[in-house]
Subunit: 150 residues, 2 copies
DNA sequence: CGAAATTACATAGGCAACCTATATAGTTTG
DNA sequence: CAAACTATATAGGTTGCCTATGTAATTTCG
């Protein structure tokens, strides 16, 4: 099936364009981590690192940064004092909310410019896109695309 | 339309998963640059930088790296001796070919696992995805997703 | 025509986000 | 209870981008 090639180019190009065009406040991985915490609740630092596909020391640094910005907090784990549980703060939840709104707005603005035919086709492909993603690694956390890396 | 939010998450998650899962030989931007050169032929370094959305000094470094790997070459521009024309070498063309094949294979392997319904929906959405990308910045170059950054 | 402004690229230095290797504190196990 | 293991932190390196600035070639215009 050669549409896989075209599909790859289309998806990649779209996301790169989206990411490049926007200013960044925090890294993609940081945003994804916040989103994961929002979905799952407090998590061990090491589990977070695995979920996000980065090494544990990198997650230590990332969490330290988010903590400095007040978006997450470290908590002790009663029962195993080696463990650090990373939890969203209220400010972190607020941040996620604002960020998602911005991302949705950005995408909506693009989608509004599509023909109705295109919009319908995209909506119809949504489950397929989700399935594709699930087929890859374990589920990666996700946030809408806004205020991202380049 | 709230599907824009879901769509954003789906697209972003898919591509990040795809990129993260694969070893990288060259950066996303380097790959994209090769692809651009393949489509357009030799280009000025500054024009390339603009097309790829990076600063000119960054493109200088990037081209130097590609040149060291033998994938592109610098040529003088008869008529304006300030200009450096960046051109794909034969090795660069070979590299792109191999890379695209790998990327297509990778995507095809995923797509083959989808239901026929999903596959059909994806294929139908291809034009819409292309249009979305075009709506963003100027056209970004593209390569299939393989051997990428993280 | 020739000095000043402009243009194209390169160089220098910095930062962010990852990495591997290793240290430290706490827990489990034979 | 010492040895092995586990969870996190620290140290130091690499890559890919950035801004500021330098140099050489070209264009503009008094």
């Amino acid at each position: 099936m050669d549409s896989s090639q075209a599909l790859g180019e289309a998806l990649y190009g779209l996301v790169i364009a989206a990411i490049r065009g926007r200013a960044r406040e925090i890294s993609l991985t940081s945003a994804s981590t916040l989103s994961t915490l929002s979905r799952t609740g407090p998590q061990r630092l090491t589990d977070l690192a695995t979920a996000e596909g980065i090494a544990q020391p990198s997650m230590t640094t990332l969490v330290t940064g988010l903590e400095r910005n007040g978006l997450v907090e470290r908590r002790p784990d009663a029962g195993d004092r080696r463990v650090v549980l990373v939890a969203l703060t209220e400010a972190g939840r607020d941040y996620l909310r604002r960020r998602r709104q911005t991302g949705a707005d950005w995408f909506a603005a693009l989608i509004d410019q599509l023909s109705e035919e295109d919009t319908t086709a995209l909506a119809a492909a949504l489950p397929a896109l989700d399935h594709l993603r699930e087929l890859d690694g374990p589920q990666r956390a996700m946030t809408s695309i806004s205020e991202e890396n380049r």
